[in-house]
């Protein structure tokens, strides 16, 4: 993976010093909260319901074992012993004190990490394919481009105060696992007919209140022009994106208002001036960065599955895990392993400090010391020898990370929800847990097969609800009740689609029953091995809608303990969430 040189190190160090002084000025009231807000956000610090939340950048989801040990240290020293992996391949800590944050950033800098631009109205951390470099269907490794873009976007002086946040995703595989169609800018690294490398550029996709699939504005942009072309996009957006209404400020609204053709024309016109200028990427720089993403020392292995097969035959749990959590690797004898962070009773994406240590050890022992975070909030060991799978599985299972549910019903994506987030209308995590409990039966999950349930506590769609096969959105509270809207038919990947809302919303305790009914329709209507999403596409939303609303929906029994009580920890913190 990429390693900092003296320049990267120096820039991150100076950032820590700058931020440390900003915190000092905030604590001494030289800075008002309003002035401090974008500064702390651009260092990843949110003010949430109970405490500050710090979101740390994990560029394109790639971590070393040394880095994850540092995250474990941060969880223990500054938080409550756990962290939370996000849908943008980052990690966030939920119980942070403002006074500690400069030290946390200094700790991060010591292992070549930072929290730069993980929030705020700027270009955010760039996300990519979690299987980059190892996927069997990969055409070009997107990671060097993502890293080069990380440099270009870091503290870009002109684009630090955009109308709204700006997210870039990049993929280089046949199957798009980076969801480039729902990003402000989506890049697909491709080869043209002459074998030259370039990008297909999409602009103006996004979720939130107005989910839009991003249109293509350039079919083939030669790789050298990556930064100048994006600069042109950014400049058009910075000047003309709406600033009068937060909900209409994303670039997708501008693209829609101008029309794709006119937007593209403006970008091209803007680009003419800077095209081929000094901002153009050089072969030398690309090669320098690429050397960090060369193949690890793979052994020449002759795949021999005899041991695995016999172990599978005697151990159903392992067989299920092999089926769902182990993916094909392009090198013979190796496998990609997904460690599930979706265990019943645990908040999706949560990892304890102890688990982080275990994962770091697993990475060192079985996967060249590296680890990836997926947008579905799971972890990936990308280079595991097939002959190590049994040992690895045993350790993962003993530490609660081997639920054989990747891509299944209980592999739910959720946002943190109202328990943590000041924007959310409803709780998300307890609902995910409710769903996990209701559909805990593995045979049933495997029978249902591939399906994605996504939950967001509000319209902002951090939990990717518009593109969930079943998407659940928390809507405004009526008398402090929680109401959930259910949509069907969303998906991401090469054929992204936005789900359709099936009708009036439901209470917390009705949602599992609603999902059950949706699944009944699927089981009734599916043809052979058809996935849930394929059935929806074939028969439409109507049969689902009819069945769900055909009769009263039984609510799950009310349980007191589904309302998690948090101990407010930080009464003494001077700058504290207004909602608390």
């Amino acid at each position: 993976m990429y390693r900092y040189d003296q320049y990267d190190q120096q820039i991150v160090k100076e950032r820590v010093a700058q931020y440390r002084d900003q915190v000092r000025r905030r604590l001494s009231n030289e800075l008002t909260e309003e002035e401090f807000l974008p500064l702390r956000l651009q260092n990843g610090l949110y003010m949430q319901v109970h405490a500050y939340m710090l979101r740390i950048a994990v560029p394109y989801g790639l971590l070393s074992s040394e880095q994850i040990r540092m995250l474990s240290h941060i969880a223990r020293k500054y938080d409550r012993g756990y962290g939370h992996f996000t849908t943008r391949q980052n990690i966030q800590f939920n119980w942070i004190k403002l006074e500690d944050t400069p030290d946390i950033l200094a700790d991060l800098a010591s292992v070549e990490m930072h929290a730069n631009q993980t929030s705020g109205n700027c270009i955010r951390n760039i996300t990519s394919d979690e299987y980059a470099g190892v996927a069997a269907d990969e055409e070009i490794d997107p990671r060097p481009y993502a890293e080069i873009l990380r440099h270009w976007t870091t503290f870009h002086p002109e684009f630090g105060y955009l109308p709204r946040k700006f997210k870039i995703a990049i993929t280089g595989a046949k199957e798009d696992r980076a969801a480039i169609q729902i990003h402000d800018v989506g890049l697909a690294v491709i080869k043209n007919d002459q074998g030259e490398i370039g990008f297909r550029v999409l602009v103006g996709g996004g979720l939130g209140r107005t989910p839009i699939i991003g249109p293509v504005i350039c079919e083939f942009l030669p790789w050298q022009h990556m930064m100048t072309y994006i600069e042109a996009i950014m400049r058009v957006y910075n000047q003309y994106g709406r600033r009068d209404n937060k909900f209409k400020a994303r670039i997708k609204i501008l693209v829609k208002a101008l029309g794709v053709e006119e937007f593209t024309r403006q970008v091209e016109a803007e680009w003419q001036d800077i095209k081929d200028g000094s901002g153009t990427l050089t072969t030398e720089e690309f090669d320098r960065v690429s050397t960090y993403f060369t193949e690890p020392d793979y052994e020449k292995l002759t795949p021999n599955s005899a041991d695995l097969d016999s172990f599978k035959a005697e151990n159903l749990a392992f067989a299920n895990w092999m089926r769902r959590n182990v993916k094909p690797h392009r090198v013979p004898g190796y496998a990609i392993v997904v460690l599930s962070l979706k265990k019943t009773e645990i908040a999706p994406g949560d990892v304890s400090a102890e688990q982080m240590d275990v994962v770091a050890d697993l990475a060192d022992r079985f996967s060249f010391g590296e680890l990836r975070i997926t947008h579905k909030q799971n972890l990936v060991l990308a280079d595991v020898k097939q002959s190590d799978l049994i040992t690895l599985w045993k350790i993962a299972a003993a530490n609660g990370m081997a639920s054989p549910n990747i891509g299944l019903l209980t592999d739910v994506i959720t946002c943190p929800g109202a328990e943590f987030c000041t924007l959310a209308n409803v709780r998300s995590i307890p609902l995910a847990q409710k769903i996990a409990e209701r559909f805990d039966n593995l045979d049933f999950q495997h029978d249902i097969g591939e399906i994605e349930i996504n939950i967001s506590g509000c319209m902002n769609a951090c939990g990717h609800n518009p593109v969930g096969n079943i998407g659940i959105t928390g809507v405004e509270k009526k008398n402090h009740d929680e109401w959930y809207q259910v949509a069907v038919g969303g998906s991401k990947g090469n054929h992204s689609s936005i789900g359709k809302i099936i009708g009036p919303s439901f209470t917390f305790n009705q949602v599992p029953g609603v999902i059950d009914r949706l699944l009944q329709v699927y089981l009734r209507e599916r043809i052979e091995a058809e996935r849930f999403i394929d059935t929806v596409r074939r028969i439409g939303v109507q049969p689902f809608k009819e069945h769900v609303y055909a009769s009263e929906i039984e609510a799950e029994p009310e349980e007191v303990n589904n309302k998690i009580e948090f101990k407010p920890a930080q009464y003494s913190v001077p700058f504290y969430s207004p909602r608390f």
């Binding site: 390693r3 900092y4 040189d5 003296q6 320049y7 990267d8 190190q9 120096q10 820039i11 100076e14 950032r15 010093a17 700058q18 900003q22 030289e30 800075l31 002035e35 974008p38 500064l39 010591s110 070549e112 109205n121 440099h151 270009w152 870091t154 503290f155 870009h156 002086p157 002109e158 684009f159 630090g160 105060y161 955009l162 109308p163 930064m227 400049r235 910075n238 000047q239 600033r243 001036d273 200028g277 000094s278 901002g279 050089t282 030398e284 720089e285 320098r288 050397t291 960090y292």
Partner: protein, 173 residues
């Protein structure tokens, strides 16, 4: 006082802001060094164009290109930041410098605060009028937050990768 060329200096200019009931074509321009709104410049161009001691300021929702033919007439142009979080001024500055070739003083006015100065100087501002209720000595420090930058802008014509030899050696901690 303002910050100019990284030093605190006396400010000789007055920024004219129109009151709500004042019209661009009717407002009286006092003698001396005045920076007038862009609207006023265009409304009174005939009378104003021979004044040597005149500057113009651009609001964040105005376009710098409208000054294309007038750019040589000014030794001082200001860009207004109505809120420090309104980032349009950065692109206005970039366009003035990079597109229109403006070389005179480019001043940031309005809600100008220490923590934005570093980015502002990178996109071509060389003068800053920090908000009056803040320490100007403190604001000056904002220009020195970073000693190295990755990307090109007005201040830096070459990206880091063209400027220095970036080796594959891992950084020493």
């Amino acid at each position: 006082m303002i910050i100019k060329n990284k030093a605190i200096v006396e400010d000789e200019w007055v920024v004219l802001r129109l009151a709500e009931d004042e019209q661009p074509e009717a407002v009286a321009i006092a003698a001396g060094k005045v920076i007038v709104p862009l609207k006023v410049w265009f409304a009174q161009r005939d009378e104003l164009q021979d004044r040597a001691d005149l500057g113009v300021w651009i609001a964040s929702d105005e376009r710098p290109e409208v000054l294309k033919d007038d750019i040589d007439k000014f030794n001082i142009i200001a860009v207004d930041f109505p809120k420090f979080s309104d980032g349009r001024g950065y692109s206005i500055a970039y366009n003035l410098r990079a597109r229109l070739g403006y070389t005179g003083e480019l001043r940031a006015i309005g809600d100008v605060l220490r923590d934005q100065l570093f980015y502002m100087q990178r996109v071509g501002f060389d003068a800053f009028a920090p908000r009056a209720d803040r320490s100007i000595q403190d604001a000056l420090k904002g220009l020195f937050d970073f000693s190295e930058v990755y990307q090109i802008s007005v201040d830096q014509k070459l990206p880091l990768f063209r400027r220095v030899k970036r080796t594959e050696n891992v950084a020493t901690k």
